[in-house]
Symmetry: C2
Subunit: 203 residues, 2 copies
């Protein structure tokens, strides 16, 4: 009988991690960051990571569940920071600005996020529509957009409309525009602003 462990090492886990487990987790995260820095996200394999961290492969998967899980863990700090900003931070991203401005700021922040962490974000979503669309951060962004649409007075199925807007901000899509087509980030921002502005024209 115990609490549901949200995440190993999280303050809500019933009992603390065993010491060897904690040590291995640190070793793995450090090794993962190093490997990503050295070879790029896409070239890092789970075997490579296990080897570098001097740990069995089983341990890697016990820790992170999957390659996507590892990438999510590597992203979690940046993700938490991003969430703090749009939930509690200063306007126009945080509360206080009119919903249209917040929505525009949200998209622009996402674009910057993808510029910096895009490869990780893409790898964190690979190989599983489930994870891609129902991961907690994704659900949170969706809800945030939906809320802003409602506040802006858009009452015609804001849930689905939020999904459409979220699709525009999808990391893989934006990365493809940025890296393959060489679209400058300012152009992405401008297009997002245009889209949101037109959508909320008279609400």
């Amino acid at each position: 009988m115990s609490l549901i462990p949200i995440r190993p090492g999280s303050p809500f886990g019933a009992q603390p991690e065993r010491s060897d487990a904690a040590r291995n987790r640190e070793r793995l995260l450090q090794a993962a960051r190093d490997l990503v820095a050295e070879h790029g996200v896409d070239a890092v394999t789970m075997d490579m990571l296990a080897c570098r961290a001097d740990v069995g492969k089983g341990t890697v998967f016990r820790r992170f569940g999957s390659r996507a899980g590892l990438m999510m863990t590597l992203l979690s700090d940046a993700e938490a920071e991003f969430q703090r900003e749009f939930i509690f931070g200063p306007p126009p991203l945080g509360p206080g600005a009119p919903p249209r401005e917040r929505l525009i700021a949200f998209g622009e922040a996402r674009i910057k996020y993808v510029e910096e962490y895009g490869e990780l974000a893409r790898a964190a979503a690979e190989h599983s529509p489930q994870n891609r669309h129902d991961a907690p951060p994704v659900v949170l962004w969706h809800r945030h957009i939906e809320m802003l649409l409602r506040e802006a007075g858009l009452d015609r199925d804001p849930w689905l409309l939020a999904l459409s807007l979220g699709a525009t901000l999808d990391p893989e899509r934006m990365l493809h525009s940025l890296r393959v087509h060489g679209v400058p980030p300012e152009r992405l921002s401008a297009s997002w602003r245009e889209l949101v502005t037109r959508l909320l024209k008279d609400c």
Copy 2:
């Protein structure tokens, strides 16, 4: 010195397929259709297909290049039909209707397409952002949307705006709404209509 073969067996290939190759292609396609019908797209493996068609694995990959290529081939008839409809067919999908109506009809047709062939379409795009975003049909849809946006008078970066609209119609996203969240297709259509209408409000 020969023409670039567009596709084996296509009228533009320099020389016709060898007879054994043609026979094997038919066997493979038939086997693939059977296996998909029996087990569903996601459960069909390339080894399974080779075995059922009584052909070496190398032959399967020589023919289709990859799993995604196989799925594209299975889709090609439906895809060609869809293209014919929005390029040459009767309005409002084909030419003759005002661009806003055509755009709405395009989205609705895509939704029906995904209802019917969604799993195949998703499998045809899996495991390669390159294929996902730069496959010929995808590029064509994108160009079509962009053209309609221009015709409707939207002159602020219609290329990127078309990308956003295309993102809304992405098979994986729509399948997820349909199958996981149980959103009825009519609701998807209504939301698409709302999106396009608002976007083109006063152009």
